[in-house]
Amino acid sequence: MKECDFVIIGGGPGGIAAAIKAAQAGVNVTLLDENERPGGQCFRQFEKGFTVADPDALGPDYRDGQELLHQLNSMQDKIRYLNNTLVWGIFEDRTLALARNGTTSSLRFKHLLVATGAYDRPVPFPGWTLPGVFTAGGAQKLVKSECVLPGQNILLAGTGPLQLVLADQILKAGGRIEAILEAGNIGENWIRGLMGIWGNWDFLKEGMRYLRSIQKAGVPFLRSHVILEARGDGQVEEAVIAKVDKNWRPRLNTARSVKVDTICLGYGLVPSTELTMLAECEHKYDLKQGGYIPLRKANMETSVPGIYAVGDGAGVAGRKVAIEEGCIAGISVASALGCIPHAKAREQIKPCRKRLDKINRFRKILDDISLPRKGLYELATDDTVICRCEDVTLKQLKAALADDTIQIKDLKRMTRIGMGPCEGRMCGPSIIEMMRHRLNAVAEDVGYLKPRPSIKPVALGVLAGNNSRS
């Protein structure tokens, strides 16, 4: 079996930035990516077949992405990019299990960077499983890379700036948005409040541009509002919305119904920590950063020596943070492998850290507005399906909880939550929050749904068949 000096999992902004920095220092890098082409969710490229007349119209993140992707392409002698590659497990002796093109293989690493990104926070409420309810990220992928609108009359519900990005993209594509619901209590003067933070002008400019585009289209932007229920016969036909208090608990006398055929939910992101958890890195719970995240040193190394983590998968903070963290990890690994002297590495890391600090000051304010509040996890009713794969309802969860269950792993045994093909990604984060509030416990006491290999479904034929070694 081949041993690689530096393996990176995830071809998004963080993974690419790390690959470039390490390769520049002379490290041979293996970059594993599940997608056809690099870029991740953020810098997702169009599928073959599409031609876009004006790529600039696709926004600043697309332009940033093109630059990084171009650099990546120019370093093919140092960076081996493996597309369509799923890392489905991490085993003893620093061995990764891969599935690619219908075969499985293993790969050993000296240093590993996990840059697996994040996914939309699932929030259960009555009707959230109806066809026509999308995550904001899913809707964005449809609009951005396949140029298909998710529906005819769209309601956006959630919190934070990513909703505005999606709204802008839908409007540009000619879609109709009924309203945008922001659960957070942003207050009348929030823009002015943000202006007070010196130096992050490009963020603010971006935000203002999105807000203007929404205003120009006449789309109502409703602060302190959530969706309570999606209704329809077999698919979404209407949504019930209401104003919320500071704990995001709905004021029921403000509830009203709006006719929409599509709902996009963007309640922030949850880090994809399956691989750092499998590798037995220590994790802590920080809801502001999306939930469980690996503990990291300043050089982005986790509690397991030689395993690093960057980007949204190590704490949700967006593409700019992912890039800076990726650079730091790439340089640190190059230094650990002896490709650059420690002093030089420290020198190279300094400006990255400076930029990180600046971005983080700004982020703290957004995080405070968008932190999911208690009320969000009280929307589900007895019949609401919480675990989509196994059809487990809130009623079943409550019955099991009455048994003095305090850990989520016990709940798993009793109800089958998290045992379906999504491997607990769609139910775990909300059940942890529900249990935490209900039992008045800290999340670490509730625990988490332990990921097991394979972390995504792999066909038995692939596992049993061509067991080649790369």
Partner: protein, 103 residues
């Protein structure tokens, strides 16, 4: 969902159009589109029914995680519609619950 155009054409040139078959019905897909996107564009949003409660499900996360869009494609069950590119003539079937499959 009401009928109407969901594909965006402004500023975008699409790949070659071709037909695919969904539960026996022919719909148009373009090169580069996933099966999920082509179905959505054709106004078809239910992709499978759940095993126990037999509830309809459609595209949800759209990025290959939630597994809600599992369909039978060219005879292979549990194929993710959001991750699988449409190919000319491919046969797509809505996935039924266990109970319905037995009958």
């Amino acid at each position: 969902m009401s009928k109407g155009e969901r594909r965006v054409y402004q500023g975008v040139e699409r790949g070659q159009p071709f037909e695919i078959e969904v539960d026996g019905e022919k719909i148009v897909a373009h090169e580069g589109e996933t099966i999920g996107a082509a179905l959505l564009a054709a106004g078809r949003r239910t992709l499978r029914y759940t095993h126990k409660l037999e509830q309809p499900r459609g595209l949800y996360c759209g990025i290959g995680l939630c597994q809600e869009c599992r369909m039978t494609v060219n005879g292979i069950p549990n194929t993710q519609a959001c991750q699988t590119l449409a190919t000319p003539g491919c046969q797509v079937e809505t996935q039924k619950s266990f109970n319905k499959r037995k009958s």
